[in-house]
């Protein structure tokens, strides 16, 4: 059996037939309706468990802590999601300004409720605690609600049921603030319609589980042999603190190891989530697909963290690009630059600002922005890199890249180096911005 056939076993008709024969009754029973029902029940449970868990973690803050308060919070969250669903279903009845800018509207509502929270007296009692709890949890839901509103905007939400919409809103299959598998529209498009498609999707899911386990093992191996606090190559977050004093060779090794580490971590986590979705018949794209083989910056960004890239593209890049069509039609490069910066810089920073939900909920927005100061530079460099990569790709006009293994390795090495170096300002560390700059300069002997 060839390697290719082995790695693509989920597409092999013989394997699919074998899987169908083994699980025939189960596959027949698992109709799309039953699979969705199972995920919806799990989503409701997730919608109860996650807020309780988050409130327990934030017990040093004025959030609901007793059972009536926690129950109110859970119900309020479901009520908000139902209202967003209603807005999507009756999208054409919404006020014109909301119809034109649904995403901005929901974010303004969130910031408006934050303003009410900040202005309310600390002695506000149960209502203030409830608002505080909502402010902490809503960043997890806000992009998911965004996809639901997009669905409403394009007229596809009207025929959907809330019980189905709840699946990606409170995803029991996991995820971060980034919605893996996007919204119900995308899930439905990728949903298995018959037993053969379900078998193929499940096999593809199993493949991802296996890959996830392999990448986790690879991370453990890295940690135990050469990359980590007690080994030859220190972690990048430890080295950047040392600034220019960091050892030269270990620093270079560490920046590349960090890139590989981050890719493995994203791949391992994402494969488990997408693998679960595929087991339930939603054969969606992987979150990470061989980014270390990318031959351009644009390609890497597309393959490294697909659902985050999609979030930035759907909510920042494409709206900016299309809205600027009438104003910047004669300046296509400026139009593209603006759209790239809207996504890779503005959107990226805003997303990470919302991730600091406890600081934001407490009104420490400036503290939150200050926390992200190194990330500003990372996002700036990322945006520049993506723009240049796009322009180069446009310039080629569909012509193939230079052939040959050496040329290909050179391109891959260039992509590795770019992302490894900009990760200096992305890696989580207590190192101040200037220490990171000194560390970067130290890599080139400018200490």
């Amino acid at each position: 059996m060839s390697i290719n056939r082995l790695t693509q076993f989920h597409e092999d008709p013989a394997v699919i037939a074998w899987w169908q024969a083994r699980l025939g009754t189960v596959l027949t029973w698992c109709t799309p309706g039953r699979r969705r029902a199972a995920l919806a029940i799990a989503a409701v449970l997730a919608g109860v468990i996650r807020p309780l868990r988050d409130m327990a973690r934030a017990d040093d803050l004025p959030v609901p802590s007793d059972w009536p308060g926690l129950a109110s919070l859970v119900l309020a969250l479901f009520a908000i999601l139902w209202l967003v669903y209603q807005a999507a279903v009756h999208f054409r009845s919404l006020p014109a300004i909301v119809r034109r800018h649904p995403q901005i509207s929901i974010h303004l509502l969130y910031w408006g409720s934050l303003a009410v929270l900040w202005l309310s007296a600390p002695t506000g009692g149960a209502w203030r605690e409830l608002l505080f709890g909502l402010a902490i949890i809503f960043p997890y839901l806000i992009w998911r609600c965004g996809y639901l509103l997009l669905s409403g905007q394009y007229g596809r939400a009207a025929s959907t049921r809330f019980v189905d919409q709840i699946i990606p809103l409170w995803p029991a299959y996991g995820g971060t603030n980034t919605p893996y598998g996007k919204g119900l529209d995308y899930l439905s498009k990728c949903e298995a319609k018959n037993e053969e498609e379900l078998a193929r999707s499940q096999l593809a899911g199993i493949k991802l589980f296996v890959l996830g386990l392999i990448w986790n093992a690879a991370m453990t191996l890295m940690e135990r042999t050469f990359y980590g606090p007690e080994t030859v190559i220190p972690r990048l977050n430890q080295l950047v603190v040392q600034g220019a004093q960091a050892p030269f060779l270990a620093s270079w090794a560490s920046v590349y190891c960090e890139l590989v580490w981050q890719v493995l971590r994203h791949a391992a986590d994402g494969h488990m989530i997408i693998g679960t979705l595929r087991l339930f018949g939603f054969n969606v794209f992987r979150n990470t697909y061989k980014p270390l083989l990318s031959e351009s910056i644009l390609e890497f960004w597309n393959r490294y963290y697909y659902y985050f890239k999609e979030l930035m593209a759907n909510f920042f890049f494409l709206p900016t690009f299309t809205q600027l069509g009438s104003r910047l039609r004669n300046w296509p490069r400026l139009r593209l630059l603006a759209a790239v910066f809207a996504a890779a810089f503005v959107g990226n920073m805003y997303y990470h600002l919302l991730n600091l939900e406890t600081l934001v909920a407490q009104g420490d927005v400036f503290a939150a922005v200050y926390t992200l100061r190194s990330r500003f530079f990372y996002c700036f460099l990322l945006a520049i890199g993506i723009y240049i990569s796009m322009r180069r790709q446009q310039g080629r006009g569909g012509k193939p890249l230079a052939a040959g293994h050496l040329a290909r390795i050179g391109r891959i090495f260039g992509v590795w180096t770019f992302f490894a170096l900009i990760f200096i300002w992305n890696v989580k560390s207590g190192a101040p911005f200037l220490a990171r700059v000194e560390f970067f300069l130290g890599l080139f002997g400018f200490a």
Binding site: Q153, L318, F321, S326, P332, M390, G398, P400
Partner: protein
């Protein structure tokens, strides 16, 4: 298929040839096949399609809104052109 639609399809295919990935003949892609998932184009090319539709058919995406799904295949692009022009 009407003559006008046939002409639009030919024009679209000619345009897609200029933005498609190398080593993926457009002749292998069916009119209803997804252009991105079939590997013919990448997501950047979606932007090129927007510019093509703006310049060739005068479509204002700022007014119509932008749904990537509607530009996912050659058929859906032709349908979008028809709807946007009426």
């Amino acid at each position: 298929m009407s003559d006008e639609r046939q002409q639009q399809l030919q024009h679209l295919i000619e345009f897609l040839r200029t933005v498609q990935k190398p080593n993926k003949p457009i002749e292998q892609i069916g009119p209803d096949e997804n252009l991105v998932t079939s590997g013919l184009i990448d997501s950047l090319a979606l932007v090129e399609i927007v510019v093509y539709l703006e310049n060739t058919y005068g479509i204002d995406f700022g007014a119509h809104g932008f749904e990537p799904e509607r530009l996912s295949s050659m058929s859906s692009i032709l349908e979008f052109i028809e709807q946007a022009r009426t």
